[in-house]
Amino acid sequence: MTERAHTAVTRRRFLKTGALAVVATPLVARATRADAATKVLDFSTNADIAKAEAEGEVVYYGHDSEPGIAVLLDAFKKDFPKIKTSYVRLQTGALYAKVTAERSAGRFGVDVLQLSDISPAIDFQKKGGWEQYQSPEYAAYKPEYLSTPPGYFGVPGVGFAGIAYNKTKLKPEGAPKTWKDINNPAYRDGVSVKLATSGMQHSQWYILRKMYGNDFWQEFAKQRPKGFDARAQLFDRLAKGDDRMCALAEYAGYTLYQEKGAEIEFVAPPEGMPAIAIYIGVVNKAPHPEAAKLFVDWALSKRGQAIYQNQKILLYGSVRNDAGPMPTGKRLADFKLLFPTDWSDYVASHPLFVKEWNSIMGL
């Protein structure tokens, strides 16, 4: 399972087409030249550190698991002990609903927002929700990993998914090897995927539909797949033998359960693996603006990326130009990742995905 990569990241095409015709209200970019940035620990920031410490707090809204967020915030607090951290954790859909409801009522209580889906990230940009802040750490990222125009949000990591199966239920020769194999009737009533709440599921649906045609998922529906909200549930069931095969097996989930001693195997199909990015930025009208900038700079720096990438509870592949390998010894470049090639089409496909996926899930 070590396919050499041509990481097919092609956001640039999307950005060039201006599909983000989202064109946010021309905000006055408070861009600051990177050379004017302050060096702190081993990263650069345009935040006023004295002010950030005087603010004394950063409020983070995120989608990761409680332990995942705790690991992230504790690491930041260790580096900046004068800045307390607090957070709200919800799945991206509900989290975004909460943020937009709060803002529409004139409540501005969040400093930093992290989302796991491009659609709400773009919508938030349309609504003027992100503060346009030029992080000096953006210099370490390719333009395709930054918002258009830059400064609204960055990408602190990438997740991707293949197939996984329970070794006690399936022999290697009977295990799936390609994406087409997930439609093998032998796996019927033993297949799990995520529900329509998942950004990763949308990505897989979109990419494989483009690859194999519109009937691919209708064929998959015959497998009577079971849908769950989170990867922990998928791997929990797979490890215990409740399901024989997981058709959306996130690599990060696989490594966690493999470490627990689960009898499961990961398959990286030769066609490539659907991938999604996560998005982080400073929120406009943040109550602690300097602390928010400092946090985003830290998260996108090598220090922050070490947490995102090396803590197994998170295990997001870093897209920094100077990123090292993941704890498994693999780099993102070692995997053939598949990103949507037309982001505007991808975002526009979401309503159809939700409708079709809910129907496949029996909802």
Partner: protein, 571 residues
């Protein structure tokens, strides 16, 4: 309608502005608590523009007309709720009767233990039963196959399984509600029945059951509504079987992007019809009869000597506690010490990591304290408020008391997850800065638990003969004095039961909390659910056990303090 002289006097006196004014004030306040968020919810259900726009861009009935697509989900919900309610009320009644009216051995201890299933959250119960009885990995089925059986012996991932788990945990609620009524019942009527030759079973069915009907119906209405809004058991046990109920379907709608609030709100609002029907039936039945058993004649609750039947009754109690508490708690305890729950774990699979992780999380450290604090505040503020509201509805003869009851039952008609959206929108725009604080959660809990308090206390109120209050009135007692010296002492068992229920219900609350928590006002149950979603069953198990232990510890302290206070009072 003809009135008795005493009623005439009471009515004349009720024009005294004091109680009337207070009644209007409290009733109006409670109605605002409920109607304010409901208005936002109804507004959302009529929104046909951008689902996230607040206020809506356009109004229409499209969300309601489109509900036909989800008819099977509504059917699933009613099916599970009805079966689970019947099971829970049977459990509550039988256990209530055994422990209140018979001389079963260890009665006092069993009565204390009967509250245990309520401490064990439905989520914990569902997780435990999933480990015990899943068709493939369930311990029972593994054992079955190990003994040479084929397939599976039991399958918890069915609608029967969901109803079973829900009934186990709501059965204790029904027990507390029905038990409180049974305790307040004058046994002279049962004794008279037996003197006249009726057997124990006939007496129970013909005398006890009709007299405790308000309590039973109150429990049934409350439990049914709880079942309609039940989330965790249906989520844990239903999803693997692709079986959805209204709450799990709505959860998907509000969790995905863009969240489909209007459809979810319409689904929630449509449940009003079902709940109104339930409340209407309840009111029709209780208004058709008299359930007074507490009169001016003194009585001391006595138990029946049931002879050798004591032992089967004891076996029934122990069996219920075994499946509702002992087995789930032991299963969760077992799972919490493992990396990956297995029926026969090797030494390498045993770990303390789940507890280390749980105790390192802010969600456990501060959230647990917040939950206990909110539980105490909700119960202590809620009991006077809800007790007074019950009295207002069933005793005050205030015009519109029925309307007030319907209003106060509203929160029960909407799954709390959806109601929380109404509250979120409502309190976001409220001019006081309470959004994102514990104050908002307190208001939310007081609102969503109004039906629980009302049902528990009203069951007892209906048993108290009006003549006791009227007699005090005739003797010149003021309204406040009557309440303090006659009504409240008679209500004490019901009030204590309601306090306990409210405390525990608040500590384990999930649906309303999940959206109303702020970064500094976290509570524990949502964190447990999130851990199950996003981390592991084993971590969720460790957190659920810590929550259960904390609640038990807090209750032990409260009982000790209360006992000391009573002793100091010389009672």
């Amino acid at each position: 309608m003809r009135t008795t002289p005493s009623e005439g006097i009471a009515r004349a006196r009720s024009w005294w502005p004091g109680p009337r004014f207070v009644s209007l004030l409290v009733g109006g306040g409670a109605a605002i608590l409920v109607l304010y968020p409901i208005a936002y919810l109804i507004q959302a259900s009529l929104s046909v523009g951008d689902p996230q726009a607040r206020p809506p861009e356009a109004y229409g009935l499209d969300n309601f007309t489109g509900l036909g697509r989800y008819a099977h989900i509504l059917g699933n919900t009613l099916q599970v709720a009805a079966v689970a309610t019947v099971l829970a009320v049977v459990v509550g009644f039988v256990m209530g009767w055994i422990l209140s009216r018979t001389n079963v051995p260890g009665r006092a201890a069993l009565e204390q233990l009967m509250a245990m299933p309520y401490y064990v959250t439905p989520l914990m119960g569902a997780l435990a039963w999933a480990i015990i009885a899943s068709p493939n990995s369930g311990f029972v089925n593994q054992l079955w196959r190990g003994l040479g059986g084929e397939g599976h012996l039991i399958d918890i991932n069915t609608w029967w399984g969901i109803a079973w788990v829900m009934a186990l945990f709501e059965g204790s609620v029904a027990f507390v509600m029905i038990g409180a009524v049974m305790k307040s019942m004058d046994p002279s009527m049962e004794e008279a029945s037996q003197v006249l030759g009726a057997g124990r079973t006939r007496t129970m069915l013909r005398i006890t059951l009709p007299l405790v009907l308000p309590g039973v119906l109150g429990a049934a209405v409350y439990v049914f509504a709880e079942m309609l809004g039940s989330f965790s058991a249906a989520l844990v046990l239903g999803l693997p079987a692709r079986f959805y109920v209204v709450t799990t379907a709505m959860y998907q709608m509000v969790s995905q992007y863009p969240p489909r609030f209007p459809t979810a709100a319409a689904m929630g609002v449509s449940l009003f019809v079902v709940m109104f029907g339930m409340v209407w039936i309840y009111r029709r039945i209780i208004s058709a009869g008299s359930y007074v058993t507490i009169t001016g004649k003194a009585f001391r609750p006595r138990v029946m000597d049931v002879g050798s039947l004591r032992w089967p009754f004891l076996a029934i109690c122990v069996a219920y506690l075994a499946v509702a508490v002992i087995l789930p708690v032991l299963t969760i305890l077992y799972a919490s010490f493992q990396h990956l729950t297995a029926a026969a774990p090797g030494l390498r699979n045993l770990t303390l990591t789940n507890y280390a992780t749980a105790l390192s999380l802010d969600a456990v450290r501060s959230a647990l304290w917040n939950s206990l604090l909110l539980g105490f505040a909700t119960a202590s503020i809620g009991i006077p408020l809800m007790g007074f509201l019950s009295w207002l509805i069933y005793r005050s003869r205030l015009p519109g008391a029925g309307v007030i009851e319907y209003l106060l039952m509203f929160p029960q008609a909407v799954p709390r997850l959806v109601f929380a959206f109404g509250m979120m929108w409502a309190w976001l725009v409220f001019p006081l800065p309470i959004y994102g604080t514990l104050w908002l959660l307190l208001i939310a809990y007081l609102t969503v638990f109004l039906p629980l308090g009302l049902r528990t206390i009203s069951g007892v109120i209906l048993q108290i003969d009006r003549s006791l209050e009227e007699c005090a009135q005739m003797c010149g007692a003021t309204w406040g004095y009557r309440l303090r010296t006659v009504t409240i002492p008679l209500l004490k068992p019901g009030l204590v039961a309601a306090w306990l229920l409210l405390f525990i219900a608040s500590v384990r609350e999930l649906g309303a909390s999940i959206l109303l928590m702020g970064p500094k006002s976290k509570v524990i149950t949502p964190a447990i659910v999130e851990s199950w979603f996003s981390t592991s069953t084993e971590l969720a198990a460790a957190m659920a056990l810590l929550q259960t232990l904390a609640v038990a510890f807090a209750l032990a302290i409260m009982f000790a303090v209360a006992r000391r206070a009573v002793q100091a009072g010389g009672e």
